[in-house]
Amino acid sequence: MGQRTALYDAHIEATAKIVDFGGWDMPIHYGSQIKEHTLIREDAGMFDVSHMTVVDVTGSDAKAYLQYLLANDVAKLAEEGKALYSGMLNEQGGVIDDLIVYRADALGGYRVVVNCATRDKDLAWMDQQSAKFDVSLTEQPDLAMIAVQGPNAIKKAKKAVSEKIANTIDKLSIFQGLPSGGWFIGRTGYTGEDGLEIMIPSDEVQNVWNSLLENDVKPAGLGARDTLRLEAGMNLYGNDMDETISPWQANMGWTLALKDERDFIGKAALIEEKAKGIEYKMVGLVLETRGVMRGHQKVIFTASDKLGEITSGTFSPTLQQSIAMARVPADAGTECAVDMRGKAVPVRMVSMPFVRNGQKVYK
């Protein structure tokens, strides 16, 4: 038996199929992954993401510490409530984890949300790097988290919460987050749709879940979460990048704040890699014939002997065909095929995302 979130009994009651996810017993689906996916693209659905790790960074050096720890620059968070996506790198420029950091003045600093499967190594690394700074790291294991996602997510979520929380939701622009009475509401997500990630004390979360159900927000499992994020072109740590992969090679170049004097862990390695020439890049692949591309399948090029590899592949319920992310040689051209069960099947290279706000967006 793995760890269970405060919503475990609610999942069982909703006939979830439970799987192990990073040591947690989590719902993979509640009957049909595709129906849950489509509901979030067209209406609204909710995920229990209480397994994710929340860490508050406070103290007089909180900003300086995060500027050193992260490849993106928290100085961009010009006012309370703003959020930032960043990689946390090792000295070699490899990605230890990807995370979201919210500027949370009311909490005395910043709130950071990291992945559950990387929790132990993240906390150890963050602690190790904090030695030179006047900073406190406080994990918040008693916070559960519900992600309400979809074009109608905010409208429905506001009906399910108190007036006070609804007022806080109204203040949020996209990619902002604010605390409110022990809760924390982020207008963030991992689906390519508008929506909220709501952190709630564990002893209150069951009531909120039920209230969302009563307001016609249906639960969705981690299966749909994976197909939604892949359509949205969002990386999954451990699949699409890890400690051996730099942000340059994981479509995260846009998260690197390199233009000023700020030093951060991994910066020298990133600059050196860029100067030498970046060997691999991450691209999107679309299979226009039948079949489903899968992780670890090889990508074969007409113009090069070098191979690429699929990092995440799936069937896209929105596009009704298979899509994938692949790491490919930067100089191999675009004409390629995927080795699918021994057959070289031609595929189209595209720029991601594949889907945003319910619509196909790749060319």
Partner: protein, 127 residues
């Protein structure tokens, strides 16, 4: 709990076999199989007229989760395939024992039927 109809035979790789008489059987995948696979999105079937040998991988089911081979439970000739299933692969999830049959085989070795699993034997395989 997955359904295992009493009137069918099975093999351990989760295909079901219905004896239609006259040396013809219908083959599909079980409720346990579809539940394990998750949403089915593509199905590849053998060609009508192809000769198949018991235990050959002759069809493919692609679900959101994985690609899975479907094995020939018997030897013989494929005499009919379910074209409607190719167009509506989700029916493999919805009605694995009815609408979502895969193909029909004219047996070349009638004795192979005796080696198939009974519902009770198959139920033990699913535990």
């Amino acid at each position: 709990m997955a359904q295992i109809p009493a009137e069918l035979k099975y093999i351990a790789s989760h295909e079901w076999i219905r004896d239609e008489g006259d040396g013809i059987v219908t083959v599909g995948i079980t409720d346990f199989a579809q539940e394990s696979l998750g949403d089915v999105v593509f199905i590849e079937l053998p060609e009508v007229g192809s000769e198949i040998n018991k235990d050959d991988a002759i069809a493919v089911v692609e679900s959101v989760k994985a690609a899975s081979d479907i094995y020939a439970p018997v030897s013989g000739e494929v005499i009919e395939i379910n074209e409607a299933l190719v167009d509506a692969p989700e029916s493999a999830n919805e009605e694995p024992y009815d609408g979502a049959w895969f193909f029909k085989v004219k047996l070349s070795e009638a004795s192979e039927l005796e080696a198939l699993l009974s519902p009770e034997e198959y139920a033990a395989e699913c535990e």
